[in-house]
């Protein structure tokens, strides 16, 4: 067997895309399928440089539709496979993602959000929240991790493969162009040294034995004949998703216990919010911070008591309320006043948040 791509632990200074490629290697991924789109390209660039040294492969497809479907095919063959995309590529890939939802294909998708709608910018946004969580004709039966740092990109990329294969729902690492392109310090590691065991993969087709003789053939489909038949199938999918949800839902909080204003945000915006809370506390303002790490499933049960106790809520995001829709859905019935900072496609600084909170109290 080839040497492990990462021996032990290593402190590195690298871009987020490079981190994702290393994480996929460390997670023992077999195949990456992909199509060029900014700002995720370097995931492919690093993967194509590193993978052949460790007997892993890559296929550059004709578009993101194909990248999504070849990934599904590879995963159904029992291999750990992933793809990465952004913006309009994420739009095209929704078709394959919905097949993954229906057929419970444990594919992993890394999304580095760029501006939208349309071609927009290649740089940054949080405007792919709705699409990544609920895209295509489906019910949003996906696991979505919204990361905020390179360390999280590494940790959650590895975790995504394990969650995908343990629970068999398509799993997403939702980053953004800032995380993709900037360099920062990160500890990369062989999962084993952290006590992380990679969940075994297994084939859904191409099973051993003669079908019809030694075993039944695997007949996998996503089409159904009647409303009732489909209803039973989707009900089972939803039940399995809801059973999984409490086991994997994640969030983090800071200084929420006595907070007058709780800031709600996700992804890289949390870094500005943490800084803002520190500054506000230093200035004697009781600010706190709540951040869902899984956008799907959403940490509703953890958020509601915090939101109920707070005097005011502030939702901050680099999109026009896509995250706020998830939050308000979770908080239905509460009457805590809420204000927002919506900056579609634009980065948000701690100063903006500090000033807004000060204006709210």
């Amino acid at each position: 067997m080839a040497d492990k791509p990462i021996q032990g632990e290593k402190r590195m200074f690298m871009t987020g895309n490079e981190v994702c490629a290393y994480a996929a290697l460390a997670a023992n991924v077999d195949v990456m399928y992909g199509y060029p789109i900014t700002p995720q390209n370097e995931i492919m660039h690093y993967w194509t440089r590193l993978a052949p040294k460790h007997n892993r492969t890559f296929l550059q497809t004709e578009d993101e539709i194909s990248a999504g479907f070849t990934t599904c095919g590879g995963v159904m063959s029992g291999k750990r496979c992933f793809t990465a995309t952004a913006g309009p590529g994420n739009t095209l890939m929704q078709e394959a993602m919905s097949m993954a939802e229906m057929m419970r294909i444990p594919a992993v998708f890394i999304i580095q959000q760029r501006g939208g709608p349309s071609t927009a910018t290649v740089i940054y946004s949080q405007q792919e929240v709705t699409m990544t969580c609920f895209g295509a004709n489906g019910e949003g039966l996906r696991v979505v991790y919204s990361t905020s740092s390179h360390q999280e990109l590494f940790d959650y990329t590895i975790k995504s493969f394990n969650v995908a294969w343990k629970y068999r729902f398509p799993t997403f690492v939702l980053g953004d162009g800032y995380q993709a392109k900037m360099r920062e310090s990160v500890t990369i590691y062989d999962p084993e040294v952290r006590g992380i065991k990679m969940v075994d993969t297994y084939p859904l087709v191409g099973l051993p034995g003669m079908p019809g003789v030694d075993r039944d053939p695997a007949h996998l489909r996503n089409t159904y004949n009647t409303e009732e038949e489909l209803y039973e199938v989707v009900k089972d999918l939803v039940d399995a998703y809801e059973k999984m949800a409490p086991e994997i839902v994640e969030h983090s909080t800071m200084e929420c216990d006595d907070a007058d204003v709780v800031i709600l945000c996700h992804g890289i915006v949390s870094r500005a919010a943490i800084e803002a809370v520190r500054n506000l506390r230093a200035a004697g303002v009781k600010a706190g911070f709540f951040r869902p790490i899984t956008l799907r499933p959403f940490a509703k049960d953890a958020l509601r008591p915090i939101a109920e106790k707070a005097k005011k809520l502030l939702i901050v995001e680099s999109s026009q309320g896509q995250f706020a829709k998830i939050v308000t859905d979770a908080l239905y019935g509460l009457t805590t006043p809420m204000e927002t900072i919506f900056k579609p496609g634009l980065g948000i600084t701690s100063d903006e948040i500090v000033n807004k909170v000060k204006a709210m109290i």
Binding site: T61, S66, F69, G73, M76, S77, K79, V205, P211
Partner: protein, 254 residues
């Protein structure tokens, strides 16, 4: 005393008896084409290595037809799904089965690029010159002047172009190691041989294999048996020439 004899319909060994009769309309070409494919799989002895993929449209009704592992995918996306399987599991024999809409319209970019990359899979397009499952709309293969639901006055090549010549296109963009042919449900012995050669080409690891099979849709054509056969044998072959377009020479020692 009389002994009741039940005549078992003859079907390929790799067909799954429990799901027969199959789900296609009476007179449909899919059953015959898939019988030829099943015979080819039997004769090559590869049933346990086949991963069969079918598209959306009438081809999806084959999702449980074989005693082979099968994946029913999305419209036009069978080619990339089978490409993904083959790339991850090169020891499998991957067959992507679709209609002319899936192959030449919504999935054409996948066909062109899988062929250009010389993917080691077999793509089969059943060509019945219209969209069957959605109720008989014009397809890329609809013959000039032919009436369909979306060309009710007859297909006008001036505004909608000429029928797509799939094997000719694939032959033009593949290397010599590809196998490309057009067969017909009207000659199942020849079609079976084409499938065998196409599958052997994949087994040998040569390259892309592509077979178009001329097929019939009496339901949407609104034709009786005689008219159906006349259309398949006489009208379609005026446009779609039956035969091999590309057959790699056998490797030495085989």
């Amino acid at each position: 005393m009389t002994v009741a004899t039940v005549l078992e319909p003859k079907m390929p060994k790799c067909w799954r008896q429990e799901t027969k009769p199959h789900k296609f309309c009476p007179g449909c070409g899919h059953g015959d084409i898939l019988k030829a494919l099943g015979t080819a799989i039997d004769e090559l002895g590869i049933q346990d290595r086949v991963v069969f993929g079918c598209d959306i449209g009438c081809s999806l009704l084959s999702w449980d037809l074989f005693n082979c592992d099968s994946i029913q995918t999305h419209h036009g996306r069978t080619t990339p799904v089978m490409t993904g399987v083959k790339r991850a599991r090169p020891d499998r024999i991957c067959i992507a089965y679709m209609g002319d809409g899936g192959g030449y319209a919504i999935g054409s970019q996948h066909l062109v690029n899988a062929a250009s990359r010389n993917e080691k899979i077999l793509v089969i397009v059943a060509n019945n010159v219209q969209y069957g499952m959605t109720g008989g709309q014009m397809a890329p293969t609809t013959l000039p002047g032919m009436k369909t639901e979306t060309s009710p006055y007859g297909r006008d090549p001036e505004s909608t172009g000429n029928p797509t010549l799939g094997p000719e296109m694939v032959a033009a963009i593949t290397p010599a190691s590809a196998y490309v042919a057009r067969g017909t449900m009207a000659n199942l012995r020849q079609l079976t041989q084409m499938f065998k050669k196409a599958l052997q080409n994949q087994i040998d690891g040569n390259g892309f294999s592509f077979v178009e099979a001329l097929s019939a849709c009496p339901t949407n054509w609104r034709t009786n048996a005689a008219k159906t056969w006349e259309f398949v044998e006489k009208e379609m072959t005026k446009y779609f020439k039956v035969g091999e377009l590309k057959a790699p020479a056998k490797k030495e020692g085989q």
